[in-house]
């Protein structure tokens, strides 16, 4: 991993600007006016209780969900413009899911090359070379010919990261990438994300791994009930949260075994 750092650096990390974003499902308001700026190369962690709209926010950024109101801009492209080429937007944005979503009927290598071939129109040999390079980045070069089902959860998630990286994204979205993993494999995935952050990738990460958020994130955003309650430097939000809701959430996540007295 050390030797490839120079070539692995995100070519043009993009900024993200989210402004007044609203999303509802029927009468259920899930996002109630979210605004958020992410600088190129910045790592922002989204934390918050389940159901607070973190996944929905992330999925709006690559248009897996269509927001009703508000703007999202990635680099200089406004992705909420109704005339935008959705596929072109998604080509620049890598997404890593909680459930990996590897293609089970394809080898690991094919998982990494199929979109390069069909979407970017790369040659077989170029796609293969990029794929092998990214498998090496995630420490799985020897698994190129394996089937996803033969890999552990942690390995599958690393393949999913390598698959996204093979498209040379300018922005990476992670939706609870370690939540479905056995505890002993979480560290490998987080360390790859840490490397990626160091290499200058713009990253928007939904996570419950507070140690990762504290150490790696430039900023932490705490969401609850579809709004941003608090945001700031990672050490401030996690170390000295200002809002009651943030404090309650963090004490639950950081001391899950402790009995909590209900607070207002």
């Amino acid at each position: 991993m050390k030797k490839s750092t120079a070539t692995a650096t995100a070519a043009h990390p993009a900024s993200v600007t989210i402004d007044g974003l609203h999303k509802s499902y029927g009468s259920l308001d899930v996002l109630k006016g979210i605004s958020l700026d992410v600088q190129p190369g910045e790592v922002v962690c989204l934390i918050g209780p389940s159901g607070s709209g973190k996944s929905t926010l992330l999925r709006c950024v690559n248009l897996l969900e269509t927001p009703q109101r508000g703007r999202i801009q990635i680099g200089d492209v406004e992705v909420t413009d109704p005339d935008v080429d959705i596929d072109a937007v998604r080509r620049r944005v890598g997404m890593v899911f909680q459930q990996f979503n590897l293609f089970p009927n394809m080898s690991v290598l094919k998982n990494l090359t199929v979109a390069q071939r069909k979407v970017l129109g790369r040659s077989e040999s170029a796609a293969r070379q990029t794929a092998l390079h990214n498998l090496e980045r995630v420490g799985l070069a020897d698994k190129a010919d394996s089937a996803p089902a033969q890999l552990s959860g942690g390995q599958q998630q690393r393949v999913a990261i390598a698959r996204a990286l093979s498209m040379d994204p300018e922005l990476m979205l992670f939706d609870e990438p370690t939540s479905a993993l056995d505890p002993e494999t979480v560290g490998d995935v987080l360390s790859i994300m840490r490397d990626l952050a160091k290499e200058g990738m713009t990253m928007l990460v939904v996570t419950h791994e507070m140690a990762f958020a504290r150490d790696v994130a430039d900023r932490v955003v705490f969401m609850d009930g579809g709004v941003v309650v608090e945001e700031g430097l990672a050490r401030d939000v996690i170390g000295a949260p200002q809002h009651q809701r943030t404090q309650t959430f963090l004490s639950r996540v950081l001391n899950p075994t402790q009995v909590h007295t209900p607070e207002s």
């Binding site: 897996l64 998604r90 080509r91 997404m95 009927n105 199929v114 979407v119 970017l120 089902a149 996204a164």
Partner: protein, 265 residues
């Protein structure tokens, strides 16, 4: 005396086997074997059937089945995509079609295409086209339902992952979703081929040249010959089994493979 459930089950099974043996033996004794063999399993009549029963009849049955399957598969894919479309009228049309052609006997479809359509539109298809259309129209409805179930069985995350990699809807369907759905629908599709092989016998309704005879028509013509008895039909039946039994085994193999795959998950 008290019996365990297992003992009781074993005794009950023994009784059932015994009964089965008695019935078979009784049938063997009651049957008039000499007449039966001379009328239904007559070796000299069988010999007369070759080689045409293979080179013409079996071959034509296979051709009609294959044509029907190609047409049914094309129509079925289209209908399944329409059923899953976000455009409501597509869904209505597909649902209407599927209900109509699943509910009407294949015989009527053959008659409609063979006689109704020529009357109505002053066109006359050649038999191959009629067979292909009739079998295709009927099987498309069943195939569409199998495909729809298969497409819906592919987890939503697969589609989202494909789209997130920049694939268009069509690209994601063709490259990622449909190949996975096909694995799921291989067993029902194989069963559909078995049904098609049998339904292809309905071509006899259309009036054919000798070279177009398939197994059933070939057998029916042969029994109307002098003294042929039922042997040609028995032989035709055996030929159908030659097609359908391996397909049945194949369907079962696909099923166990699919089970093994989902068990591994």
């Amino acid at each position: 005396m008290a019996m365990t459930a297992r003992q009781r089950a074993r005794i009950s099974r023994g009784v059932q086997y015994g009964l089965l043996v008695v019935i078979v033996v009784a049938l063997v004794f009651i049957a008039d074997w000499n007449t039966l063999i001379s009328r239904a399993l007559n070796p000299s009549v069988m010999a007369q059937q070759f080689p045409q029963i293979i080179t013409v009849a079996l071959k034509n049955t296979l051709i009609y089945t294959a044509l029907g399957f190609v047409a049914g598969m094309s129509g079925g894919i289209l209908l399944a995509l329409m059923r899953l479309s976000s455009v409501a009228p597509y869904r209505w049309i597909a649902t209407l079609y599927i209900e109509l052609f699943r509910g009407v006997p294949a015989v009527l479809v053959f008659l409609a295409l063979g006689f109704g359509v020529p009357l109505a539109f002053q066109v006359r298809f050649n038999n191959l086209v009629t067979v292909m259309l009739a079998l295709g129209l009927v099987s498309a409805a069943y195939i569409a339902e199998s495909l729809r179930a298969g497409l819906q069985a592919v987890p939503k995350g697969q589609y989202e992952a494909a789209r997130s990699l920049g694939m268009s809807h069509a690209r994601a369907m063709v490259t990622i979703i449909i190949p996975q759905a096909l694995r799921i629908v291989l067993p029902p599709l194989t069963n559909e081929v078995i049904l098609l092989a049998k339904d292809s016998s309905l071509v006899y309704l259309l009036g054919m040249t000798v070279a177009q005879y398939e197994l059933t028509k070939f057998g029916r013509e042969a029994i109307s010959g002098t003294g042929a008895g039922l042997t040609p039909l028995v032989l035709a039946g055996v030929c159908y089994l030659i097609i359908t039994v391996p397909l049945g085994l194949l369907a079962r193999y696909f099923e166990t493979r699919a089970d093994a795959r989902s068990a591994r998950k």
